[in-house]
């Protein structure tokens, strides 16, 4: 009992400390940051980092507690716990299952993205630049955008057959819309002032396209890419459940059929982790290549 109360005090103290720090960050953030010394800056950086880590740890603790203490009912088995998943992950790493299934998944997403970029960027620039073309395509594009590519699955299979080609096509189909629409938005945002200026400098159409319109649209293209990668990765799993012999989506079904729920959870963790890394890469691209007004 004494031990418990000590823990409770510890938790209360932690929570107080946490809420205190949050308040401090919110209220006097700007002023403090300006006045801080180098050591102070490092302190704030570590403080910020530790909260990101703390969030992950809290999540893991709740998750583990949920399976150990059966918080979500008795069906939430011990095999669903992060500990079991970690062990399964080590096992899958050792016998090569992760790599064997992650590589085809990444390949499908990257190949379909490459084709989507080749198709969508020129289309987006044209649609964004020519008002008539935008009017011509607006309804159709907005309409198509809202259809889950999985709805096209039967048609994809009729045309491309069961297998890689169908999956790649579906991923391509989901990736082109954010790319087209964002690129169009970027190209449409080109200031008429820039175009006028370029013309008074004797620029021709090709020069205007290369030096004004495309660079102007790059931040939006990258935003489109980030969205495209996100939806592609999300659609990948169900798409790979439809008649391919490998990939993380396929492996989810495989672990289910073998009753290896620890491996299933581990695969989910891998899917989340790769998705997170892909998104981080995109965020890095955006921060590096986006211009600001």
């Amino acid at each position: 009992m004494a031990c418990f109360s000590e823990q409770a005090i510890g938790i209360v103290a932690l929570l107080l400390g946490v809420s205190g720090s949050i308040k401090r960050l919110n209220m006097a953030d700007r002023i403090e940051k300006k006045q801080q010394s180098r050591a102070g800056k490092i302190g704030v950086f570590l403080m910020d980092r530790s909260f990101y880590v703390l969030g992950v740890l809290l999540f893991l603790v709740i998750w583990q507690a949920a399976s150990t203490l059966k918080l979500f009912g008795s069906d939430f088995s011990e095999a669903f716990s992060p500990l079991a998943a970690a062990l399964a992950l080590v096992e899958m790493g050792r016998d090569g299952d992760i790599v064997r299934h992650a590589i085809p998944s990444l390949r499908r997403v990257l190949v379909s993205l490459a084709f989507a970029i080749l198709f969508a960027l020129p289309v987006g620039v044209l649609v964004g630049y020519f008002k008539r073309l935008e009017q011509l395509t607006y309804v159709v594009f907005q309409f198509m955008r809202m259809i889950s590519p999985l709805a096209w699955m039967p048609i994809a299979i009729i045309i491309f057959g069961v297998g890689d080609l169908s999956v790649t096509f579906l991923l391509w189909l989901v990736a082109i819309w954010p790319l087209i629409l964002n690129t169009a938005h970027g190209a449409g945002r080109v200031s008429p002032l820039w175009l006028n200026m370029a013309k008074t400098m004797g620029a021709r159409d090709a020069g205007i396209l290369r030096k004004i319109i495309i660079p102007a649209a790059i931040p939006d293209m990258l935003t489109g890419l980030r969205l495209a990668v996100g939806v592609s990765w999300i659609i990948l799993v169900p798409a790979e459940m439809l008649g391919v012999p490998d990939g993380l989506g396929y492996f989810i079904l495989d672990t289910r059929d073998r009753f290896r729920y620890d491996q299933l959870i581990a695969t989910i963790v891998v899917i989340g982790a790769i998705g997170y890394l892909l998104d981080s890469a995109n965020r890095w691209l955006i921060s590096k290549y986006s211009w600001k007004i």
Partner: protein
């Protein structure tokens, strides 16, 4: 010194006008109502002339300049450059914008190099050298590698000025290029623009609302009134250079003040006219 109410302007009858503006009006629709911004404007501008257009705000100075640049088409009348009707913007007419037309993803240096890249022909090192020369001229050498977002308003203005000067257009259209600059920079740029004009023999049409500037720079001063008309053209025969020691001479000074006074009265009359109309 003045030419009286002569809308056809002051260049001699024998001189071929480089730019000719005949009966040009420009209407805009605003809330369903037609607003006449430029009203039956006639103006001839000769080769290597420095014309300054002054007038109260809303007198159509900028619109007239935009029509010469080819960004706006006149509602009636015609504008010609070298005998050809103006159909759109062209490399012969460089425009320095009132707004800043800097590309936000390029540094000052890369922005100034833009026009040279469009022209082509020269290599990168030559472009860089030329761009640096003009950046230096506008006093921005300390900020060559900064992006527009990092520049103050005055710095942006100077950068866009360098951007257009470096392309050496035959006709330079300047819409309030020195507005909102500090007086030291402004004086430097007055000297530089006069020097460029004398060296490159280009034609400059310069819109401003500052009369000192107008008298300092111009060959002629066209006054536009609230009705969008060129109400009067003053010939400015003050000797050049008009900076430095020359300004201190009593005769020069008196003539300067007298001309400015006459222009000011004309501008006031033009602005007052509108007050009666409304």
């Amino acid at each position: 010194m003045t030419e009286g109410r002569n809308n056809n302007g002051g260049i001699g009858a024998d001189a071929e006008a480089l730019i000719s503006i005949k009966g040009v009006s420009k209407n805009f629709k605003k809330n369903g109502r037609d607003i006449t911004v430029v009203n039956d404007c006639n103006l001839d501008i000769g080769e290597n002339e420095f014309l300054v257009i002054v007038g109260p705000t809303g007198s159509g100075k900028s619109t007239l300049l935009k029509m010469i640049a080819g960004f706006e088409a006149p509602t009636t009348g015609e504008l010609r450059v070298g005998g050809e009707i103006i159909k759109g913007p062209g490399a012969d007419r460089g425009m320095s914008f009132q707004e800043y037309a800097l590309l936000p993803w390029r540094t000052v240096l890369k922005n100034v190099e833009l026009g040279l890249e469009f022209k082509g022909g020269k290599n990168e090192a030559e472009n860089r050298e030329l761009a640096m020369k003009y950046i230096d001229m506008v006093g921005l050498s300390y900020a060559v590698n900064k992006y527009p977002a990092e520049l103050s308003g005055g710095m942006k203005r100077r950068a866009s000025l360098a951007m257009i000067l470096v392309t050496k257009p035959k006709i330079l259209l300047m819409d309030g290029p020195f507005n909102a600059l500090d007086s030291k920079t402004k004086m430097t740029l007055h000297t530089e623009i006069s020097r460029i004009w004398e060296h490159e023999h280009n034609t400059i049409i310069f819109v401003t609302s500052e009369l000192d500037e107008a008298v300092k720079l111009s060959d002629r001063i066209a006054v536009m009134n609230k009705a969008g008309r060129v109400s009067k053209i003053f010939k400015n025969s003050l000797p050049r250079p008009r900076m430095g020691r020359a300004v201190l001479e009593t005769d020069f000074h008196n003539r300067f003040i007298k001309l400015r006074e006459e222009v000011l009265n004309e501008v006031k009359a033009g602005a007052g006219l509108a007050a009666c109309e409304y």
